[in-house]
């Protein structure tokens, strides 16, 4: 077996699959082994994702976007299922790695004891996510979506309880319906064009006859709706706050990434299939993305201002983040706005890390100390129903405590607030500033100018709303609390600090190379011919040349 560098592309799918399968063999009591396995697997995935990222940088000859192609089963390219690596998918793999590692570590502090098979399910979720980012085939995308969703159903229910089961019921019903619509869209696309390969589809769309065009538009609209459900676009997002709030902290932290999977597929497919080269169909759906995205921002912003608990607030801020990304995707699709898209990708990286941190912070920040916790516990013993919406009292926290844990917690929360509100000096400001600059720079075009003004206003107002909402919670928790918060175990504090350091400090200090990468990614996304060329024209690998891996 010569596991040459070309096999690296399939590794982000195989590693979690094998690790998850191995974990199933271990008894439920051997949690430490599983935790170690999970951390090792995620660490290796992150390293591989970084290697793939370096490879996707490419050279000037390939337009700075080297397409890595992996032929599963070695069928020639448009016919077999392919995995495709480009700048965008490599970047998403890295984000997955960055978020998964702290989430597993956090679960190790206690959450993995409160249910069955947490670590195995987590690996399968990662497998689905990585696969969905890498695949170049529509039906294969559906399969990876389902792998990811099936794991996410079980993870959402992790820890059980009435509230989680109720939220899980709604979440599963919505996503099952969405999956069926996914199948409908894929079937129509196959029926009309005869292909499921994304790149091949992009070459066939401009040549469609006038009779077939409405059909393909309808199919793509159905598909788009599925991804908008995932991304949480208004009015398809009503399931999202309740679900994300009910999920246990480490699960909610990865769920922050699931909305970005919806955004990723919309960026990938719409810019590929309905990009500039699509003839009559070019720019299809751009207005829906622009105005739907802005409605999502308004909805999320209002929800965040109205929320009383940090979990619900974080869920609503997730909507703001994905709504902003959808609007940016709409402008990129409709007007080819590369500058805004590049800054938007940077904003997505910064805000997703900050949101994941916020979901992790929500638990130690809302934990009750001594008397209050005992009161809640005895109330439950005597069967007093405190409140229907109140979550079950959590077991007492144990573990190693470091001095000053509350100060660190407060600092981490402040960093998250700055990142999400887009205030200097952290990276959230750089991303938001870039998006604003891009939006204002493109205002010369009279037709899009009103939408751009609304978007600029919304961006500023949503930052202010995030600031007010998070500031209020921060003051209530750290300054105006009747009692101090209980100390935070180091096992919980470490992953939070790691995320803040990765998303806050590293991203801010290293902003220039990251921003350059994002800008080039945006340029490459707006030139779909590079992707198409890289996928359609690839010859199958000669079996005798040693493709035995």
């Amino acid at each position: 077996m010569n596991g040459g560098p070309e096999h690296l592309i399939v590794a982000p799918i195989l590693i979690p699959l094998i690790t998850g399968a191995v974990m199933m063999l271990y008894d439920e009591r051997q949690r430490r082994t599983k935790l170690g396995l999970g951390l090792a697997s995620c660490g290796v995935q992150l390293v591989i994702a970084c290697l793939l990222l370096l490879r996707a940088e490419g050279t000037a000859a390939t337009g700075g976007n080297a397409i890595g192609l992996y032929l599963l089963g070695n069928w020639p390219s448009p016919y077999g299922i392919v995995l495709v690596l480009d700048r965008l998918s490599a970047m998403m793999l890295v984000i997955t790695g960055i978020l998964a590692l702290p989430a597993i570590l956090y679960a190790g502090a206690g959450w993995h004891q409160r249910g069955q098979r947490f670590h195995a399910l987590f690996q399968f979720l990662l497998m689905g996510l990585n696969g969905a980012f890498l695949t170049g085939d529509l039906f294969n995308l559906f399969v990876f979506f389902e792998v990811m969703l099936a794991a996410s159903y079980a993870l959402l229910l992790h820890g059980s309880g009435r509230e989680r089961v109720g939220a899980g019921l709604h979440y599963i019903a919505v996503n099952l319906t969405a999956s069926l619509m996914f199948l409908l869209g894929v079937a129509i696309i196959y029926g009309v064009t005869g292909t499921l390969n994304m790149a091949d589809l992009a070459t066939r769309i401009p040549q469609l006859s006038e009779a077939d065009r409405p059909l393909i538009h309808g199919a793509c609209a159905i598909l788009g709706m599925v991804f908008l459900v995932k991304a949480g676009a208004w009015p398809l997002s009503l399931w999202l706050p309740g679900t994300y709030m009910a999920a246990s902290a480490p699960v909610a932290a990865v769920f922050a990434l699931l909305t970005k999977l919806g955004v990723y597929v919309i960026l990938r497919l719409s810019l590929l299939v309905f990009g500039a080269g699509a003839g009559v169909s070019a720019g299809f759906g751009a207005d829906v993305l622009i105005w739907g995205g802005m409605a999502t921002v308004v909805f999320g912003m209002t929800g965040a201002l109205a929320a009383q608990a940090l979990g619900r607030m974080a869920a609503n801020l997730t909507l703001v983040s994905s709504g902003t990304m959808l609007t940016i995707a709409g402008f990129a699709l409709g007007q080819g706005d590369a500058q805004m898209l590049g800054a938007g990708l940077f904003y997505m990286l910064a805000s997703t890390t900050a949101l994941a941190t916020l979901f992790l912070l929500a638990e130690p920040m809302s934990r009750e100390q001594g008397a209050a916790a005992v009161l809640a516990l005895s109330a439950e013993l005597y069967g007093v129903d405190l409140s229907e919406d109140e979550p079950d009292p959590e077991p007492q926290v144990t573990g190693v405590f470091l001095p000053g844990s509350l100060t660190v917690l407060g600092l981490c929360f402040a960093a998250c607030t700055l990142m999400l509100a887009g205030l200097p000096p952290l990276a959230g400001f750089l991303g938001k500033f870039g998006v604003l600059a891009g939006a204002i720079a493109g205002m010369g075009d009279a037709t899009s100018s009103p939408a751009r003004w609304v978007f600029v206003t919304l961006l500023l107002v949503s930052g202010l709303a995030a600031m007010i909402a998070l500031g209020r919670i921060g003051m209530q928790t750290f300054w105006a609390a009747e009692e101090d918060l209980p100390a935070v175990p180091t096992m919980e504090l470490l992953p939070i600090m790691a995320l803040v350091i990765a998303g806050g400090l590293v991203l801010t200090v290293e902003a220039e190379p990251v921003m350059r990468y994002m800008t080039r990614t945006a340029d490459a996304l707006l030139r779909p011919e590079i992707y198409i060329h890289g996928v359609v024209t690839a010859p199958p690998v000669d079996a005798r040349a040693g493709n035995g891996g």
């Binding site: 099936a150 229910l157 089961v165 109720g166 019903a173 999956s179 409908l184 196959y190 029926g191």
Partner: protein
């Protein structure tokens, strides 16, 4: 044959959508099942309707593709059946858990007038 198939898909999807919008969890799961049957038939129909033709071609030599059925939708529909069956089974478990925890089969976990 086209008319019968499209009528069948229409009836399945129509009743499925109606049932999904009902407040009882049992109705929702039956609705999802009907909807998935309709969708599976639809995928199958996308390979064009031919009767008495095999989807697998014999080895070697030139064959006339018109004499064979399209194998891709048949492969897709198999995958779709397996996946939707599995996820529906999972949903059933969650519904049972919800029924046990809340004591009602309303999808919101409580009756409307309580």
């Amino acid at each position: 044959m086209e008319l019968i198939l499209s009528l069948a898909i229409g009836v399945l999807v129509g009743s499925g959508v109606w049932l999904i919008l009902r407040p009882r969890s049992f109705q929702v799961i039956i609705g999802l099942c009907l909807l998935s049957y309709g969708v599976n038939l639809f995928i199958f129909g996308m390979g064009r309707l031919v009767s008495g033709a095999a989807p697998i071609m014999p080895k070697g030599g030139f064959v006339d593709p018109a004499a064979y059925a399209d194998p891709v939708p048949q492969a897709l529909v198999l995958t779709a059946i397996v996946i939707s069956f599995a996820t529906t089974a999972l949903f059933l478990v969650v519904i049972m858990a919800s029924r046990g925890l809340t004591g009602t089969d309303h999808v919101n976990g409580k009756e409307r007038d309580q």
